[in-house]
């Protein structure tokens, strides 16, 4: 028995995230820790529940163990439901064919049966690698008001950056007349956020046609959206205002973490608009020692700080020994920084040990790049990790 759901969300979480290098050797990108206590996927899952969408299919493919375990039964996001809730949808072996997800559109195509079980009218397509807070209910309302077949959320980007995005050219009423993927000479600053609402029947039609087309990349941006435009379907751009960041690269991930800092942070998760939920582990409250110095930091439960920490984001269970110095860095959690060690301009994944007196990276002003240390790495006492190095073994 299934109950009808007006809108079902499909969350594309299968990307490898190869541009995050050492951070994604053991973990799928959506499960990469962010902002101390969160993981990237918390933002989309929390947006769903905050928007009243309680049925979410999560399409996984690459290194799904951590992600599957993290999502579990969906309880932290209130998505443990009798009807609906969060469901992990891995690629599967069918009677006639077995396939990995060939592209974003193919991933949804392979799970049309899941969507149809809920007799849904609309399908919300999301990607699991963006940091933003958005009320999808408003977007759905817009979609219905416009009588659209497809609505694409867009954000205004600076014209000089527009060529990095999929750009929507729109008429005054918001309808899209042209879509160009990473154009050299953009004629609009409306960048696609990778968030689509489709009227279900149209989506199904175009997915089936696309699947039958040989040589198609089976991708929303490359195939489905252009095909619908050519066919003259009603497509609208939904303008979004607020914080939105693709954290697909080392530098953007670092920047997004830094956006949480400051006396008036660009990304303020403490305010009441759309709380972000996450799977919380039981840590004691943080303890700040008698000789500690903390300046402009974002710190999670379970941390013990005895050294100096400046302009940094610390995940749960980070221990910083006396005399250690951490600046401009993201420590994802359960990491120990030994006495007298120095960490500068780095991203350090979970469960890392930095030995006493070790040096990781150099001051941001002089650094060649962000230093990245992958999960479970142990940096021995007194050793040096060069600035800009990306290491998953030491």
């Amino acid at each position: 028995m299934f109950k009808k759901k007006e809108c079902v969300a499909m969350l594309l979480a299968g990307g490898q995230g190869s541009r995050l290098y050492a951070l994604t050797t053991k973990t799928a990108k959506p499960a990469v820790p962010f902002g101390g206590k969160y993981r990237i996927i918390d933002f989309t899952l929390s947006n769903c529940i905050n928007s009243g969408i309680d049925t979410v299919g999560v399409l996984t493919q690459y290194q799904p163990l951590v992600l599957n375990e993290y999502i579990g039964n969906g309880q932290p996001w209130d998505l443990d439901r009798v009807y609906g809730g969060v469901k992990i949808l891995p690629p599967y072996q069918g009677q006639k064919s077995a396939d990995w997800y060939k592209g974003t559109a193919n991933a949804i195509y392979q799970n049309l049966a899941f969507i149809n079980r809920y007799d849904t009218d609309y399908v919300l397509i999301l990607s699991g690698d963006h940091i933003y807070r958005m009320d999808y209910a408003k977007m759905l309302k817009y979609h219905k008001e416009k009588g659209a077949d497809c609505t694409i959320a867009v954000i205004d980007v600076p014209i000089e950056e527009a060529s990095r995005f999929g750009i929507m050219s729109t008429n005054e009423d918001g309808s899209i007349y042209k879509f160009s993927e990473k154009p050299k000479n953009p004629d609009s600053t409306n960048a696609s956020m990778g968030i689509y609402i489709f009227t279900k029947d149209k989506l199904q039609k175009y997915l089936e046609e696309d699947e039958a087309t040989e040589g198609s990349a089976n991708d929303f941006g490359k195939n489905i959206i252009p095909n619908m435009l050519v066919a003259g379907e009603k497509m609208f751009a939904y303008p979004f205002e607020g914080y939105w960041k693709d954290v697909g690269t080392i530098s953007s991930l670092w920047e997004a973490n830094m956006d949480l800092l400051g006396n008036k942070p660009v990304l303020d998760l403490g305010n009441q608009e759309g709380r972000i939920y996450s799977r919380n582990l039981a840590g004691a409250p943080q303890y700040v020692g008698p000789d500690a110095k903390i300046e402009n930091c974002y710190i999670t439960d379970g941390c013990e700080i005895h050294g100096t920490v400046i302009n940094s984001v610390l995940g749960a269970g980070v221990k910083i020994a006396a005399g250690a110095y951490v600046k401009d860095s993201v420590l994802m959690g359960d990491t120990e920084i030994g006495a007298g060690a120095t960490v500068n301009y780095s991203i350090i994944d979970t469960n890392v040990e930095i030995g006493a007196g070790a040096t990781v990276g150099v001051a941001k002003e002089r650094a060649k790049g962000i230093t990245v240390i992958g999960e479970d790495v142990k940096v021995t006492n007194g050793s040096t990790v060069e600035d800009g190095a990306i290491i998953s073994e030491f």
Partner: protein, 377 residues
């Protein structure tokens, strides 16, 4: 499973009237992100107890809000889990007095139905005034091995210097851990063996003494049952050697809280592998230390914004310390707001308190200044 838990959330409410005016002792906040019931509840859960009855009396709204369906302790179970046991009054029983129970024994009488329906052989009974992290399996094992009717959990501690009005249960026992003496006393000096208000008891034995107490009109579990039967029944003690603090007054609440600033205390309470202290998940954001913040020797929970100075203090979730504000030797409960340039010393601020700009408040470590819930100063 061999044991079921039974927690008395209200028994010592009157020892800290300030903090229990609007809540049970079990739901008194402690240690930045916990409520007192979390410690005993976590010990039970970590020891594999999956059915826990929580006995309440009055004022238990905050306790229900905290416990919810028990899922944060993994106690949202199809069978077992948390069972709230509110006062049991029918139109017939207690009709004459029409009163809530007034003693532990009467409270136990209200749990007979719950205990009858359990299949476990043993009951772990606990109050909420003791803070510890104990492996109850070891106690249950020793209880079974000695075939005791009751095993009292005892902690050897020096509690001299406690508030003079505080009473604890002091015990004496022989070399075979047989209980020889138990009494409520004021302790003024020296090391004593203190019964920490946790016991393991055979369920059959417990049900029998409750039936007998009903039949004979007994009023006190300690005096009418335990003390009368010392030497007759097989009463054992179990020596607990972990970290312990017992709260018997606002002053000792303050003192016990401040003990958490000690590294060793935190390691022995929170740092035991496989024995985490669990509490209600609030989904606060991490704590933001702003530019110009100065924090030393303090326990800080999540969801706080620190712009000013914090020293030797316990800061609960969602507290905001404004720019130029100075908080020293204080305990600030959830969602308190210290406005810019205010100064606090030896203050306990209850939930949602606001200290306006520039105010200066000070108590003394022997007599902290308490500000009630939702008060604006």
């Amino acid at each position: 499973m061999t044991a079921v838990g039974l927690i008395f959330s209200n028994i010592h409410d009157n020892t800290i009237p300030e903090l229990t005016r609007k809540r049970t002792l079990g739901s008194v906040p402690f240690g930045g992100r916990y409520r007192l019931i979390d410690f005993t509840l976590s010990s039970m859960v970590n020891s594999g107890i999956s059915k826990v009855g929580v006995v309440t009396h009055n004022n238990y709204q905050s306790l229900l809000d905290h416990l919810g369906n028990g899922k944060d302790w993994d106690l949202a179970r199809r069978s077992g889990g948390i069972k709230i046991l509110p006062p049991y009054i029918t139109s017939f029983e207690n009709a004459a007095s029409n009163k809530f129970y007034s003693s532990r024994l009467e409270a136990l009488m209200g749990t007979v139905n719950f205990l009858n329906r359990c299949e476990e052989d043993y009951v772990v009974m606990s109050d909420c005034d003791v803070i510890c992290n104990i492996d109850l399996n070891k106690v249950i094992e020793s209880h079974i091995a000695s075939n005791a009717a009751i095993t009292f959990i005892v902690k050897k501690a020096d509690i001299a210097g406690h508030n003079e009005n505080e009473k604890v249960c002091a015990v004496e026992f022989d070399e075979n851990n047989n209980l020889t003496e138990i009494a409520e006393r004021k302790i003024t000096e020296g090391v004593s063996n203190i019964y920490i208000n946790m016991m393991v008891v055979k369920r059959d034995y417990l049900l029998n003494v409750i039936q007998e107490a009903i039949a004979r009109g007994y009023k006190s579990f300690l005096y009418d049952i335990i003390i009368r039967n010392i030497g007759k029944e097989n009463y054992k003690v179990y020596n607990y050697d972990g970290w312990y603090a017992q709260i018997g007054s606002l002053e000792s609440y303050f003192e016990c809280s401040m003990k958490l600033l000690d590294n060793d205390a935190r390691a022995r309470l929170f740092g035991i592998k496989n024995y985490p202290i669990l509490t209600k998940v609030r989904n606060s954001a991490p704590t933001r230390y702003c530019e110009g913040a100065k924090v030393i020797n303090s326990v800080v929970a999540e969801g706080c914004i620190i712009e000013g100075t914090v020293e030797n203090s316990i800061i609960f979730r969602g507290v905001h310390v404004g720019k130029g504000a100075v908080v020293k030797n204080s305990i600030l409960f959830q969602d308190s707001y210290v406005c810019p340039d205010a100064t606090l010393n030896c203050v306990i601020a209850d939930k949602n308190v606001m200290i306006k700009d520039g105010r200066t408040l000070s108590g003394h470590s022997s007599m902290p200044f308490y500000i009630g819930k939702d008060v604006t100063v």
